[in-house]
C-alpha cells in the first residue's frame, strides 16, 4: 500500500538549531497515524513544514506517490492537506461560518455568498455528527475549548481534504470533550481520510491509532503498527528514542 502522504529525509533548522534530522514519515488513507514524541521533539515543526508554514531545508514530500512542492498554506490546501494547528488558527472575532471559510470565501459576483457558505458549514457540521452549537453564526470567542476544536476540525474537512493533521487536539480538553474529539478523529479515518494525530496521551493514542510514529529529538525513532506495540514500548521510544530492537541506534536512524 502506498502512503497517501510521505515525507523523506526532511531537514529543518531554525538558525543554528537543527530541529528535524532526516525525518521519514508516512500516513495512509483510512488510517489514524499517531505522531508521538516528547515536548520539543519537533512534532509541530514537522507538521508546519508539511503545511507550508515553514520552508524545508532538505528532503522531499510525496503525495499519492508523486513528489510535490509545498511552499505556502495554499499549496497544501490545494493538495487536500488540512492542518488543525496546536495553537488553534481561529479568529475569535469571527463567527463559525466565517472561520470555516476564512481565506476561501464563496462569492457571488463581487460580494460574499453568505447563504451558501452557511448552508455548507451546517451540512459539514452535521455530517460529522456534531450536534450543533447554539448558532453557527455565533462568534468563536463564545465557544468552549471542545467546541472550538470541533470547529477547527470541521474547517479542515470542509474542503474535500484527503489528509487531516491534528496537532495535540485534546491537550486542553476535559475528559468528555477529549472522548468526543477522538470519536471524531476515528470517524474521519473511517470515511477514508488519512488522519495524523499528534498526542502526548498514551490512552488517546492506543484508543484510536492504527500506526504510531515516534519522534525523538528531531529524529524518527520508529514507525510501527499500534497492534505490535505496548504502552511501555511507546513510552521508551518517546523518552529514550529506542526500545529493545526498535528505535535509534547510537542516536541515529537505523
Amino acid at each position: 500500500m502506498t502512503p497517501l502522504l510521505e515525507v523523506r529525509g526532511i531537514d529543518k533548522s531554525f538558525g543554528p538549531v537543527k530541529v528535524l534530522h532526516n525525518v521519514e514519515f508516512s500516513a495512509y488513507a483510512g488510517e489514524v497515524t499517531a505522531l508521538v514524541g516528547d515536548n520539543g521533539a519537533g512534532k509541530s515543526t514537522l507538521v508546519k513544514c508539511i503545511g507550508g508554514i515553514y520552508p524545508i531545508d532538505g528532503g522531499e514530500i510525496f503525495f499519492d506517490g508523486k513528489p510535490v512542492q509545498i511552499h505556502t498554506p495554499r499549496d497544501a490546501g490545494e493538495l487536500g492537506i488540512e492542518i488543525v494547528y496546536q495553537d488553534l488558527a481561529l479568529c475569535d472575532n469571527l463567527d463559525i461560518v466565517q472561520n470555516m471559510f476564512l481565506g476561501r470565501e464563496r462569492k457571488s459576483g463581487l460580494l460574499l455568498d453568505e447563504d451558501s457558505m452557511e448552508e455548507l458549514a451546517e451540512k459539514t457540521l452535521s455530517s460529522l455528527s456534531v450536534r450543533t452549537v447554539k448558532s453557527i453564526r455565533q462568534q468563536v470567542s463564545s465557544l468552549s475549548g471542545g467546541q472550538r476544536q470541533t470547529v477547527a476540525i470541521a474547517k479542515a474537512v470542509l474542503w474535500n481534504s484527503k489528509v487531516v493533521i491534528l496537532d495535540e487536539p485534546t491537550a486542553a480538553l476535559g475528559v468528555a470533550q477529549t472522548a468526543q474529539v477522538l470519536e471524531l478523529v476515528r470517524r474521519l479515518a473511517d470515511t477514508g481520510l488519512a488522519v495524523v494525530l499528534i498526542s502526548h496521551n498514551m490512552n488517546d493514542v492506543f484508543a484510536v491509532s492504527d500506526r504510531i510514529a515516534a519522534l525523538y529529538l528531531g529524529r524518527m525513532a520508529a514507525q510501527v503498527k499500534t497492534s505490535d506495540l505496548t504502552h511501555a514500548q511507546v513510552v521508551e521510544l518517546i523518552t529514550a528514542g529506542r526500545s529493545g530492537e526498535l528505535g535509534l541506534k547510537n542516536g541515529v536512524t537505523p
Partner: protein, 420 residues
C-alpha cells in the same frame, strides 16, 4: 463506523431559537452583558448629552443648530470612517489629521494658482491621500516599523508639508462654488425627501429580500416583525431629521431663505454605505477583520496580510483627504491649522466612542458616524454654553478616555465570558 456516544459533559446542543423580536432583543441583551456593547454607549451618550444641552441651552434645539451639527461634525466623521479601517487591524494612524490638511492644501493650491476645474483638484487631493497611505502602509507592513512611530513621524512631517504648501503661513482662500457648496449649501427640500424615500425604501427592500432568500433556503431569517421594527425606527428618525432640516432657519427669511438637508449629509451617507458594503460583504472586508482578530490565523489561511495592511492605510489617508476637502469647503480657506490641533484626536475619539476597538478586530464604519455625532454635539453644546476651548478640550479628552476605558473593560469581560 463507530457510533456517536452521548456525552453528558458537553451539551453543545440548544434548539435553534425561533427568531422573533423578543428573542432578538434577549440575544442583544446577552451580547451587551458579555461585553459586546457595540454602539450602545455612543447612542446613550448622545441621548444624555442632547438632553443636558437642551435643558441648559434652549437654543441647542433649534433648526439652525441642528443643521450646524452636521457641517460641524462632517470632516471629523469622514476622517474617522477611514481610521476605522486602520483601527480594525489593531494599528493606528496619528497622521490622519495633518494628512487631511496636506490634501486640503493640495486642493486649495491647485484651485487657486493653477485654476484647474474643481473635480481635477479634488481628485488631486484624494490621490495625494492615496500616495500618503501607500507610503505609510509600506513602512508599517513591509519595513515593519510600528504604525504608532511611522504615523507620529508623519504627523510632524505633514505639519511641515502644510506650511510649505501654504507658503509659511498664508491663508489660501477657496472660492470654487462647487467646493464651497459641499459644506455650506443645502439640498432643495424636495430633494431631501426624495433622498429620504430612497434610503428607507432601499433599506427595507434589502432586509426583505435577504429574509425571503434565507427563508427559502431553510436558514434562520429575521422575522417580519423585526424588519418592520428596524425600518420603522429608521423611517421615524430620518423623517424627523429631514423635516426639521427642511424648516426655515434663516434669521431673516425675507432676505435669504435657508432650508434643506446639508449637502454633506448625502456625501457621508454614500460613503457610509459604500464602505459598509466593502467591510461586511466582500472578502477584502472579511480578511481585514480576520487580520485584526488573529494575524497568524489569517496568514495560515493564505490571506496576504501585508497587502491588506497597506490597503487599510490607503483607505484611511484617502478618507482623510475627503475630510480635508470638506474642512476646506467649510472654512472656505486652507491655512496651516487645517487638519491640525484637535482634529486627529476628535477623529480617533469618534471611532472609539462609536464602538470601534483600539485592540483591532472590532468596528464598523457606522461607529465613526455615531461617534462623530457625539463629538459634534459636545463641541457644539459646549460652545453654546459659553465654555472656551480649554473646557472643550478637557471634556473631549475625558470622553475619549472613557470610551477607551469602556473598550478595554468590554474586552476583559468578553475574555472572561469566552473562557467559561
Amino acid at each position: 463506523m463507530s457510533k456517536v456516544k452521548e456525552l453528558p459533559g458537553e451539551a453543545i446542543v440548544a434548539a435553534t431559537q425561533a427568531p422573533s423580536i423578543g428573542n432578538s432583543f434577549r440575544a442583544y441583551v446577552q451580547r451587551v452583558r458579555g461585553g459586546d456593547m457595540g454602539s450602545l454607549p455612543a447612542v446613550l451618550g448622545l441621548v444624555v448629552l442632547c438632553a443636558v444641552f437642551a435643558i441648559a441651552r434652549p437654543s441647542f434645539v433649534t433648526a439652525i443648530n441642528f443643521a450646524n451639527l452636521f457641517t460641524q461634525g462632517a470632516a471629523i466623521t469622514l476622517i474617522a470612517m477611514g481610521l476605522v479601517f486602520v483601527l480594525l487591524l489593531g494599528e493606528i494612524d496619528l497622521s490622519a489629521g495633518y494628512a487631511s490638511g496636506v490634501c486640503a492644501a493640495v486642493l486649495a493650491v491647485t484651485l487657486a494658482s493653477l485654476g484647474l476645474p474643481w473635480y481635477v483638484c479634488a481628485l488631486a487631493a484624494i490621490l495625494t491621500g492615496v500616495v500618503i497611505g501607500v507610503v505609510l502602509g509600506a513602512l508599517v507592513a513591509k519595513v515593519g516599523i510600528p504604525s504608532f512611530v511611522v504615523t507620529l513621524a508623519a504627523f510632524l512631517a505633514f505639519q511641515g508639508l502644510v506650511l510649505v504648501l501654504v507658503k509659511e503661513g498664508t491663508n489660501i482662500s477657496v472660492r470654487d462654488p462647487v467646493i464651497v457648496a459641499i459644506a455650506n449649501k443645502n439640498l432643495e427640500p424636495w430633494l431631501g425627501w426624495a433622498l429620504y424615500a430612497v434610503c428607507v425604501g432601499v433599506f427595507a427592500a434589502i432586509q426583505l429580500v435577504r429574509a425571503t432568500r434565507r427563508a427559502k433556503r431553510g436558514l434562520t431569517a429575521d422575522p417580519l416583525s423585526l424588519i418592520a421594527f428596524r425600518v420603522g425606527t429608521l423611517a421615524v428618525l430620518a423623517g424627523v431629521a429631514v423635516f426639521v432640516l427642511n424648516l426655515e432657519r434663516s434669521r431673516n427669511p425675507a432676505l435669504v431663505s435657508l432650508t434643506g438637508v446639508p449637502i454633506v449629509v448625502p456625501v457621508i451617507l454614500v460613503l457610509l454605505v459604500v464602505w459598509t458594503v466593502i467591510l461586511r460583504r466582500t472578502s477584502f472586508g472579511r480578511h481585514l477583520y480576520a487580520v485584526g482578530g488573529n494575524t497568524e490565523a489569517a496568514r495560515r489561511a493564505g490571506i496576504p496580510v501585508d497587502r491588506l495592511k497597506i490597503s487599510a492605510f490607503v483607505i484611511c489617508s484617502a478618507m482623510a483627504a475627503v475630510g480635508g476637502i470638506v474642512a476646506a469647503s467649510r472654512a472656505s480657506s486652507v491655512d496651516p491649522n487645517t487638519g491640525g490641533s484637535s482634529v486627529l484626536l476628535y477623529a480617533v475619539g469618534a471611532a472609539v466612542i462609536g464602538g470601534t476597538s483600539l485592540f483591532g478586530g472590532k468596528g464598523r464604519v457606522l461607529d465613526a458616524v455615531l461617534g462623530g455625532a457625539v463629538v459634534a454635539v459636545i463641541e457644539n453644546g459646549m460652545g453654546l454654553m459659553g465654555y472656551g476651548a480649554s473646557v472643550k478640550y478637557l471634556v473631549t479628552g475625558c470622553v475619549l478616555l472613557l470610551a477607551a476605558g469602556v473598550d478595554a473593560l468590554a474586552r476583559r469581560r468578553a475574555a472572561a465570558a469566552g473562557l467559561r
